[in-house]
Amino acid sequence: MLKNKDRYLSVILISPSIIAVLIFIYGFIGWSARVSLSNWKGLNPDYSWAGLKNYIALFSDPRFHIDVRNTLIFTGVFVVGSMVLGFLTAVMLDQGLKGEGIFRSIFLFPMAISYIVTGVIWRWLMNPAAGTRMSGLNLLFSSLHLDFLVNKWYTTPTWGMAAIAMTAIWQMSGYTMALYLAGLRAIPHELREAAQIDGASEIQIYRHIILPLLTPVSLSALIILGHTSLKVFDLIIAVSGKQLPLDVPAIYMWQTTFDGLFYGRGAAISILLLISVAVLIIPYIRYTLKEEAKQ
């Protein structure tokens, strides 16, 4: 039982954080929500009531359709790619090979670098120019006689987004690797040994024993990667600049708010983004809390 003194103390200690979150997160979300229901356009605030006008307009806005498609492509490629790559590298590194530490550092380091730095390099690497102006990865592939790999990268129609996702995989798969590696190390090796004695193949062991045990890890990875991909913004700007084929909601929001001064529309986009994040996050939070309660 909590003593009264401690109960008050705990409330006092946590309240600064709660107040900060209340203002800086919910207060500001509330502001956005209010703006999204207004006619505000131009430099001067205009809170006149517009109802759901901004939202309705977005649903028939061809640019927003492109954004949604791009986000789906990006999220799909990025989340699946990072998780698969992260898991595979983790499994390989878990084999106790020499030099594990070096590989681990190599896989982890992209996380340390800002998109502002890596964006430019990827822009160079994924240069789509052909013929005599060929450069970057295409030039590398071509000189290695891997011409089938030469492609137009992020300028590919429709699927250009996948190329951007690849750079994001580069950046974040190290983190998934670390999560999985930690998860793998936490699995008691008796479990594997027992299965081995039962005659299970290594692949069977991973599939039936290890993967299920890693479910919580996969879930956290999914959440972190998923919300990152919904919010992706500066990476795309750094690699490709602002152009509609690679547009995502966050960029549309930024441009329409600050370049076009459509504050109401921009706020509506951010609220829609937030709702989609919530759709992803809330079941996860409920699940984890329930799991904990069971224990």
């Binding site: 131009g42 430099l43 001064l261 459509f262």
Partner: protein, 788 residues
Amino acid sequence: MNKKLWYVLMAVLVIGSTLLAACGAAPAEEAPAAPAEGEIATDAEVTGKVGIVLPTKDEPRWVQDEARFQEALEAAGYDVEILFSQGDSAKERANVEDLITKGIQVLIITPQDGAAAAAAAEAAHDAGVKVISYDRLVLGTEAVDYYVTFDSVAVGEAQAQYLVDKAEGEGNPLYLYAGAASDNNAFLFFEGAWNVLQPKIADGTFVIENSSEAEAVADKAELTRDEMAAVIGQITTNWDFNTAKSLAEANLTATTAEQKGDVFILAPNDGTARAIADAFAADGDVTSYVVTGQDAEKASIQYIIDGKQSMTVLKDVRTLVADAISAAVAFLEGNTPPETQTYNNGVFDVPAKPSAVVTVDKSNVQEAVIDSGYWPAEDFTGVEEAAAPEASETTEATEVEVFSWWTGGGEAAGLDAMIEVFNKEYPNVDFINAAVAGGAGTNARAVLATRLQAGDPPDSWQGHAGQELIGTYVAGGQIEALNDLYDAEGWLDVMPETLIPLISDENGNIYSVPVNIHRANVMWYNPAILEANGVAIPTTMDEWFAAMDTLQAAGITPLALGEQWTQLHLFETVLLSSLGSEGYDGLWDGSTDWASPEVTTALNNFAKVLTYANSDAASLSWQDAAQLVVNGDAAFNVMGDWAAGYYLELGLTANEDYGWTPVPGTDGVFQFLSDSFTLAVGAPHPEGAEAWLKVAGSKAGQEAFNPVKGSICARTDCDPELFGEYLQSAMQDWSTDTVSGSLTHGVVANDSWKSEIDTALGLFLIDQNVEGFQSSLVAACASSGPCQ
């Protein structure tokens, strides 16, 4: 932590340590520091008698002094006897001897006549009495122990220092005036002023306008008596109101308007200062003047409160009395009063510590003159309002924050060149360069929009002349009209007439200071490629298509194109070419229908132009695209004339490595854009911002900026010799061509409309649907443009 709090803390620390230092130093020089009457609190046990001889009872000053001495010395526990000479040296002598016989230990004497008083002083000295020469020096004897006086040299220095502090930049006109050439004090005042002014004349801060004698010795830090006499002879007022006035009027007649403007005047005392100030105020070519004075006369204090005289030097007689008493007390106690300076009385150097003088101007007149009790407040009008506004003016003009998106390349170098001009003109104003980079300025725009939303505007920011300015910032009430500045600086005479309406609202308020002009409708080409393929420079849309067909057939990429905004740029030039300048201009005021077949033709032309472009446009910056042309990878590139600056930076030769022509079909039309600077509503440092705008609109500022940035001046009077070949041709075209505005660069459409058009273009680039493009353009005009 709050930044303001930091400053307060710093201030407290500084003041605290100063106080500590002062306390630590105090014991060494305690005696003459006592400031005002009635505060001489010395050891009452020490007894002694002080005799005082003053010149005459007929002047109120000496009667006041009598009372002050009497009161202060008696309060300190001494006997005092005060006698008056009544303008008679013999009486003076008799007074002194009378006092000696009464057993005084210290004599304070203000000689009626310095030389004649020597005998009296000697008599006192011989009797073992310490002689303090008060306000006037006893000459020609060693029998003077101490001299209490105001430092005339310091007075001149204080006057000159005030002028120096108020002067900004170079070439400030300076008018010098002096007292009577027969008065030694006039020489001392002038000597002090010269000490401070001469270095500032030598470095160009000031230009002497009314004294050829002073100009002749302007490089000499120390003047001989004869040189000074020559100068003073030319600028003497004889301490006379009327002489001063007629001399000033004569000077103003003899000088040209260029030698006036914001002038600085050294006037020796208050009476002459008022006369001179009146003369200058009456001259139409004098926009402002700073004038010194001396004595804190009532009339001048009122002048200062009214802003008609800038300053005076207050020599508070009470300080002098207090210092004399302190010296007397020191002698009575067997000590020596402090000595910081000596004055030669013809025989030897008399020790002295000159009493402090106080510089009084509008900002401290209340405190220094009225609160101190020097003059009563009821003698003046408008005292209360005097201090506040002036004080803020002097403290806040110390910086200016200017926001732009010029962080690199020729733009940043050009801005730096202009900042250099600014720093020279306004060395006291700290320039804060708040440039933020971002693709075509977009990060910068977001930062700016956010700061404006939050009510934290920079003092001045960059905005494209035209609708970006009028339809966005003016519509949002974020910037101030600048008509006064235009009038004061005469800009309406030097800025192009076509430009002014674009930076004005319908009421004729002008809102920004344009610094440059760029041309948008320029097509760059590779002369070698055109020649090798027998292609003539196209002048119409059809010729252009034909030329590009030929090139394409020869396996050459006809047109180099970059990322999306460069495609918008191409789009606006094709619109201009297809619709003509009148039709194009009509798009933006609603007189050309976006749904019209002419626009459809223009859009089809644009779609066709795109088919000649490189396939990797989306991955190229405008520089990359421009470079394709000079590298021989493409034949044409449509880009604003900043490309010329880029080619110049690459070290390429005009008309050899690259050529230029108006975009086909736009010959004779100058599609322009212009960067301009604004004054924020609620700018934290309006004076600094105004200073910056003055530089941005000045010939010197624009001539420094534009050749480096690669644009032509917004002013029409820049020297063409400063510019390269391309820019000279652009200057020529600007003066003769029809002028239309750019869309991509903020001239013709407000930000919202432009952003809607940009989105429509982006969608068109994906789906290539001309019909859909046109209907989105119609919708954009309806939602954010003039079409309803």
